[in-house]
Symmetry: C2
Subunit: 690 residues, 2 copies
Amino acid sequence: MASTVEGGDTALLPEFPRGPLDTYRARASFSWKELALFTEGEDTLRFKKTIFSALENDPLFARSPGADLSLEKYRELNFLRCKRIFEYDFLSVEDMFKSPLKVPALIQCLGMYDSSLAAKYLLHSLVFGSAVYSSGSERHLTYIQKIFRMEIFGCFALTELSHGSNTKAIRTTAHYDPATEEFIIHSPDFEAAKFWVGNMGKTATHAVVFAKLHVPGDQCHGLHPFIVQIRDPKTLLPMPGVMVGDIGKKLGQNGHLRLWAALPKVAAQPGLRLASASLPQDVRQRFGASLGSLSSGRVSIVSLAVLNLKLAVAIALRFSATRRQFGPTEEEEIPVLEYPMQQWRLLPYLAAIYALDHFSKSLFLDLVELQRGLASGDRSARQAELGHEIHALASAGKPLASWTTQQGIQECREACGGHGYLAMNRLGVLRDDNDPNCTYEGDNNILLQQTSNYLLGLLAHRVQDGACFRSPLKSVDFLDAYPGILDQKFEVSSVADCLDSAVALAAYKWLVCYLLRETYQKLNQEKRSGSSDFEARNKCQVSHGRPLALAFVELTVVQRFHEHVHQPCVPPLLRAVLGRLSALYALWSLSRHAALLYRGGYFSGEQAGEVLESAVLALCSQLKDDAVALVDVIAPPDFVLDSPIGRADGELYKNLWGAVLQESKVLERASWWPEFSVNKPVIGGLKSKL
Amino acid sequence: MASTVEGGDTALLPEFPRGPLDTYRARASFSWKELALFTEGEDTLRFKKTIFSALENDPLFARSPGADLSLEKYRELNFLRCKRIFEYDFLSVEDMFKSPLKVPALIQCLGMYDSSLAAKYLLHSLVFGSAVYSSGSERHLTYIQKIFRMEIFGCFALTELSHGSNTKAIRTTAHYDPATEEFIIHSPDFEAAKFWVGNMGKTATHAVVFAKLHVPGDQCHGLHPFIVQIRDPKTLLPMPGVMVGDIGKKLGQNGHLRLWAALPKVAAQPGLRLASASLPQDVRQRFGASLGSLSSGRVSIVSLAVLNLKLAVAIALRFSATRRQFGPTEEEEIPVLEYPMQQWRLLPYLAAIYALDHFSKSLFLDLVELQRGLASGDRSARQAELGHEIHALASAGKPLASWTTQQGIQECREACGGHGYLAMNRLGVLRDDNDPNCTYEGDNNILLQQTSNYLLGLLAHRVQDGACFRSPLKSVDFLDAYPGILDQKFEVSSVADCLDSAVALAAYKWLVCYLLRETYQKLNQEKRSGSSDFEARNKCQVSHGRPLALAFVELTVVQRFHEHVHQPCVPPLLRAVLGRLSALYALWSLSRHAALLYRGGYFSGEQAGEVLESAVLALCSQLKDDAVALVDVIAPPDFVLDSPIGRADGELYKNLWGAVLQESKVLERASWWPEFSVNKPVIGGLKSKL
């Protein structure tokens, strides 16, 4: 059973069934097993396989093709599945500590099966759990145990009906009553009802509620979290004084509920207010590294978005390799993947998966480092800077990943034509389930402002105090050379010289320097002409701050992936394909900024734009024979992928036809047939009523 | 009751309820009633009002907030509603002939209520009807009557499971049997089953089936349409030999079913083969102008897409004018519409609605002209050229409209934050229902090739034969001056000079000339280096043919709207706002081609790009106070819009809260509560099974 780097482990990475995809698989320039081992590592591959197999063998997780589940039934199923995950206990707290990358691996597995399941599990055990932990005192440790025993079920209640982004305007209050030693939590009216509270509209027993703290005779102490019991765990009926319900159907993720709660007057017991306090050092460290490591939801969202993109691209590329339409002669039809148009539509998203997946994991490890520092009481300046840098990267990384996935799923949907519009092929569900990634933890456009502000702050520090650009993860260090970088020009004149991500890296560095300088100047100009800081920032965001933040995070993603695929430890047979993926993602992303490259003078003449465009197409063409094998690396088993047109055997039409025949009552006439056959309309019979 | 241009007719255009939107309504630079009359005309306004009122007053059309309708129930409801439309008979064939614009008005009204209803009605009465008519003989007139009496129910069966775009590869056959004088329609296997047959999976009794005609002793005669009876109208059971069913849930439009049918061996009666034949001249003319006018589905899809965008933008802008978040001080929050970012996200789509709606209507009238010519037996060269020009405009207009709407709805969804993700607010349904517009009648990317081929053909004609660029609708006439146009440069240096659509028009003309020349050269270069015509076209499409087709149709949309708003008959008080809409749509669309403008040398220096960008933002800022009134012109009544956050009274939270409380069992605990409270999981209890 020992695995070898060359051939992989057949039990761990079984062969694919023979079929129409064989041709492309045979053409691949590399071994998909070798790439899978390089990308994930044997340990993670085994971990994922354990989870996928458990789900596939458990009837509770059986797929139900053609069933038209009611919302209520779907929610029940999702709850039962979540409970079952606790019974499997795939990842203990100890394992999290030892192998932190298993946390995103678990998220990917559950999310690939069903986003609703991942959300329900994640928000209870990790988000609620870490909220209780990270600002909690010793007495809250009992809650942690109850959370992991599923004795209570939690949610995180910050957003209100009328306030989301602007948390300072949250209106729920917590008044301390010294007589009873209670905090009275109060929503003054329905606009202050907690709303969009993920994830457990009908099952949450406890909520971390954010409210403005008032102490008698004192001014408001600002927003604080409180643990409020909202339902009786024995009956799931609301506690007295709590009005709580479901907000209704969402576009996606309908397996898990969102809750709203109006809290007319609820008493939170003394001591239930969360506050920083001391915990035994070893416990604190462990939790800081495991649970606490997910305190930044933005980093998890990058992972959630990437898994959705993996599924969509796997479906669309296997479809494209087997769907034939038109050809050089009337007799011969060729797979649609052979068309440059189809390659251009899909392959950049395949490259984006590899680049963003690497970014997602590396950022997660950075976060673990941060959390370990926090847990060990590190109060150094470096620790604080690390926090800022991760915040800046996550605040732009989440928009980049969620938008790339949003656009990628849409392209996949369209690239599969009508078959992509059939619900059973799953692209619609993926689009709907990915959509909240653009919104929760902060609207993408608003989050980008935090990243541009971070960069502007560094530049101001440099201009005013002569400080160097230096950050713990080195993402901004290149900016120190900005005057020289701004003098550079694009000097690649042939497509062949452009097929390496180093070309895009140099262009991105120029672009970030350019946008940073322009934004800084524009902001100061606005202020000089009388705008307040608030106005000036708003006026600069569309054309300056937003592209600056995006270009900066794209550069970071490109840089990290470029370094990753150029490490000496990359197996020789993988270097070419990984290099192409890196170059394709980099140049394709860069090409969306081509107007700015011209405008600022980095590009000049017709050739620059042409070379960039031709290089993207050339890389697509070079990668098309590797596309199926690259999908084999990222696609989960068929049972999890759950898309007839995306199955690994490539039997597109047989699978689709088989699934159609499984639909409920597929051949039966409609139950309401007499409405056509018997109850005929009188044409124009109601015209007189108009 | 006489209406006046100044004040409008209160009964026709009633005042809006007072509320939070008053502030913006008071700030508008024009009267929304005057603009409504100018845009639609009193006759159409009255027609729409009649339809909307009939639906609102009829309990069959009542909205059911919070109901979780099963697919079966929703389909039944949609069928009953379609039948009811026949009872209302809003638009007689005579009226269609007299006022052709009432056809798109009817589509807009039904589609705004529910896309499934519009699709069901449209595909039966107009698509099936005109397919039967336009290639039919006299004996098919009996079918027309049955269609309009709903005695039979029809569908249009071209696409097969394995073939859509490449209709030449359709595999269903029709063999003529002289012994029985029958055509035997045959699907050789399931891959040749008719699939995606809009719209009536379970109710269609007849289908226009496209099959390859074979006559004994003769070669194949190519694709021909046949009328095949697939179900017995008395029982709705399939006819012997027909296997027919529902393809299952789609991403959207689930109220109407799509059918698949495998036709193992079905006899079509002699004479049921559709063929061109003569009809009495007057009947032919009428049908040619009314039914036949919709033979081009692409033109109708432009209208369907625009109506979806109207609904989405109306919802998002009313939300933005009432949702407050952050502000210059901590005490004062401002409507999110005040932020340049929100304006930039939404207002260009508002402008796009006005420009595309005008394009949609004008193209529909062009089509009516074409159909009238066909019906009157016009066989002139002009008539043939008109056909080609309309085909080219519709083949790029449909992609432009459906993509603009797709992107616009997504932006609206995100711009409404979490509330946009709530199903009851309708943005998700709109996105799902609009999606097939990108696919049916031809994948957008494939259709664009038809437009670029049209333009390339004209240029080849010019180069080879010295022919002039001339077309009946004059959309290509400017190309005659292409050598001179290519020498032009962008010479506007101030934002103020850029705020007119004439600036964008000039730039678009240059862009189309540039792309046409580049595409032509690239194509010839590919051919010279040995590519076949098939290969050469495929290699040029991504970077040349596709942007050429899009730029050409965008130019046409901009040109038509520019001329429309600069007519002398435009009421003086509307000129400013319409001019801004025209300029905003034009410059915003153009800005997506900024890299090409630089690359080809039309733009040079930093200023050109800056001016373009600043002009877009300046126009957004100028239009924001008019946005609510501009929405009032295009939004249907609240009952039809059906979105709590988009209601005309602007009572965002009251409406949302009220709707939430209407949800089914909103306050009840989940029926499966014992699964939490009683049946506790054994944590890790299944770990040994892994």
